[in-house]
Amino acid sequence: MCELSDILAAYRGAGFVMAPAGFGKTHLIAQATAQSSGRQLILTHTYAGVNALRRKMRTLGVGEKLYRIETIASWSLRLALSYSATSGWVSERPADNEQWGELYEASSFLLDHEFIRRIVRSSYDGLYVDEYQDCSTGQHAVVLKLARDLPCRVLGDPLQSLFDFAGQNPIDWRQDVEGSFERLGVLEVPHRWIHAGAGDLGAWLRTIRTRLEQGQPINLNMNLPRVVSVMQSHDDPQSLNRSQGNTCRYFQCDSSHTVIAIHKGSQEYKEKCHILSRNLGGVFSSIEEVEGKALFSFIRKIERARTEEESLREVITFAKRCMTAVGQKLPAGTCRGELVNVRANTRNPFAARAANAYLAASNSATMADFLLALRETAGIEVVRSDLFNRVLSVLRKHLLHPELSLSEAAEKYQGEFRHKGRPVGRRKLIATTLLVKGLEFDHAIILDAASLSKKELYVALTRGARSLTIVSTNPVLTPAD
């Protein structure tokens, strides 16, 4: 790997490195940057990726003047806005994929201007693009334009290109990457697993990777490393749900370890994550997508509520989505949105009083108090802690900035959330393949493995550094493309 970083640092053309998950890609970029002369522009896709790269740079002691790390989106947006008279771009927040696509067109157009090219040459001595498989064709066009003025090295793994919804126009690895860039090398060593003391798992994943690339089936009955266990299930939904539930519920590991249970990434399965986490009664918590649709839909409902009673009912509906047993643990009157007399025998007087306070003055402070009162109630477990915590954070933000409306506070929080990345506070989480892409855990539980596509399966299998537990209705996996 040392030699590869030397090659990257000295390289003047446009080339790519095939970098399988967990094979030290971030490390390679940091090391090559340290060896490069002059400042490198390092582009990636998510703020989580930006943070991971920054951390690695700091760990390796790479001088801050040697790099600039940004997402392709924010880098392009900033430039297009700075020169809006030329780019014609004015929107500070592109709303959807179509608009983002237009932004990249505007940026590409900008990069055809000599003054912009000179700015680029004056600013950086080289370019790295991480997670290249996640590029849209628009982003790829921007990178190609940059590559005319900067030595360009892109790193990625075609087996990890997962996309959420239509309209993203992902690149075609073979055509766009192998066709445009020179092959500079492949990462060969499964550092993540060696580092975690599970070198045999790493080696096994390498063979799995080769089989997936070649379209061969994977037999879960043979040659498994010690840390991989398979839970065979019947393929009727009830049995499957039961074995998935049991696998998670009785999963044993060191209490300081992180665990991820992974579902397929379609809309149907996102819901399944929440259902599973509810069934597990708070042992696992499901995580939300970054966009925070559920969060904003709740905020909208609160802002649209015409009366305090309606507002309280919305808060309770929301609480029920995030927590177990909310209905049973509140007085019936409170659930109907009514003011209740709190007597000695009132159910959960603490939360009931908080609900009354909310009815008397419904604002962010009283709502937060009520939600916290619920969380503290014995018998209530939070199952969507990610959503719950985000709403609490928005309420806190609103208290700090009373001049903002609640939805503005939510926007502000969301903006910061994008930048800071997801705090992985809970040790045991449930999520879809899309949400866990790029994240690292100690243990992974793959749910309904037979439902996963080839790329989803690869992403799911490579999330756990110490152990893998695979729940499957079929001992031989033949994933679709």
């Binding site: 700015i119 040459r121 004056s122 600013s123």
Partner: protein
Amino acid sequence: MKIRSLSIRNFRGISELAWAIPNANIVCLIGRGDSTKSTILEALRRLFYPQWNLSFDDADFHLCDPSRHIRIEAILGDLPDAFRDLEKYGHWLCGWNLETRKLMIDPGEGLEDVLRIRLDVADDLEPSWSIIKNAEDEGVQFKASDRAKVAVSLIGAVSDRHLTWSRGSILSQLTETENITSSLTSVARAAKAALDNRRGADLADFDAVARAAETTARALGVNVAASYKTHLDTDAINVRIGGLALHDGDMPLRQLGLGSKRMLTTGLQKQALREQHITLFDEVEVGLEPHRIARLLKHFKEDATGQYFLTTHSPVVLRELNVGDLHIVHRNGGLINVVAAKKPAIAEAVQGRIRVGAEAFLAPKIVVCEGATEVGFLRGLDDYWHTSEHMESFAYRGVALFDANGAGKIKDIAENIKELGYDVAVLADSDAPNLFSEADAQALRDASITVTKWDNELSIEERIFFDVPWAGVMSSFEVAREIWGNDQSLLDQLRTQFGQDFNRDFARWVDTRELRTALGKAAKTGDWFKRQAWSQEWALVIAGHLRDEAIRGCDLVRQLDGLRNWIDDV
């Protein structure tokens, strides 16, 4: 780097100024004494002040009114790539059209990459520097270290600082060592050691007191580690970097004459700044003889790495410059207007370096004269009026003469000079209406220009021979004889003009209309007085006759009185 435009609001004498500067290495500002030329240089110096601690006070605000904020803005072109860096100001470039001198929001084809730099000072007196694109932008901070890179320095009346190593001085820029301060520390130690060696001689009295103090200390039980003695406190001999100064032998160079100091500073400037610099030179001529002025300006012209902003009141300086280098500063209350002197007709008249007429640019009132005859004639009148009639001289009245060198150029030149903001009068013949017609004269009068143009389509020679008393006619002919020293030639010319019956015996001439006409025509066609010195002499001879009661009301007297009234602001 080069400054492409400058705008100033509410700074000292300037309430408003907007000036698009031509792309030139030398920009010389002229204008009346209080036209704020120096304020313009000072504004530039502050906009690019290389340190953070620049202090403003209430007197820096226009009309001393801090409620109206100071704002100084410049467009900076010819940028180094370091400023194009996205981590610096790469997000903030604008475009500048060098031809139209207009700012475009983005750079592009045919435009120069520029930065729009702003200095704001509000009533808290805190200066804040920023780089912006749109007027309403908050922009990004323009850092002191980057302001220093623009390398703007003002060489004003006192420029001693540049001959020391104080922060930001030219010498300190030339010095490569990083740890000047540590060398200074050892200087302090050496001083201490040197004093120690002379303890017996210089410190004996002090040490006696020290011993007394020690005795007291011991008596009181204060712990004495070694023994008390007098010594230099290194804190007190804190040698500052500004204390390092250039010396010639033992003499500090600040004791050089002002002019020499300023010249040396300029020379060092060129050396210090391997790349680019912008030098502001207030009153270039101060302390310098004409030959040294010439040398200094030659140095400016040959220095392609710099942009020089000069002010001057000296024709000697102007003679070394081209009309394209000149910019005239006008003040109308607080509104300041800077106009380029290079108007087409003026440029054509001056041609290259301002060899002649340099004074004209420095006077508030200019008489545009048709040719050498008129220039000389007015000079002669000025001499006579001043010495014999005790009138105020042209110089005192701020009047200068400008030779249009031909009737055909008068109109354009007069208009151009008027546009530059001068008070203009014209002295012209009327014998060539195809070159300077009555309509031309009227057009100039409509533009508030005083026009002296003889009646009856006559030249100055004809007009004079026509209007002066007979004695004046005869003395004029005497002057011509002295100038030419060839009576026969003059008489031949007169014969041609007069025709039949011409009397060659001039002693016997009698006053006739025909003879006066012939004299006027011969003088004109024969160029009898067509040199400044000649017509000047002529004017001295006839000036006395202009007060003659007999010719009061004639065209010559009327017109000259009109011109004199303009000179005297009547």
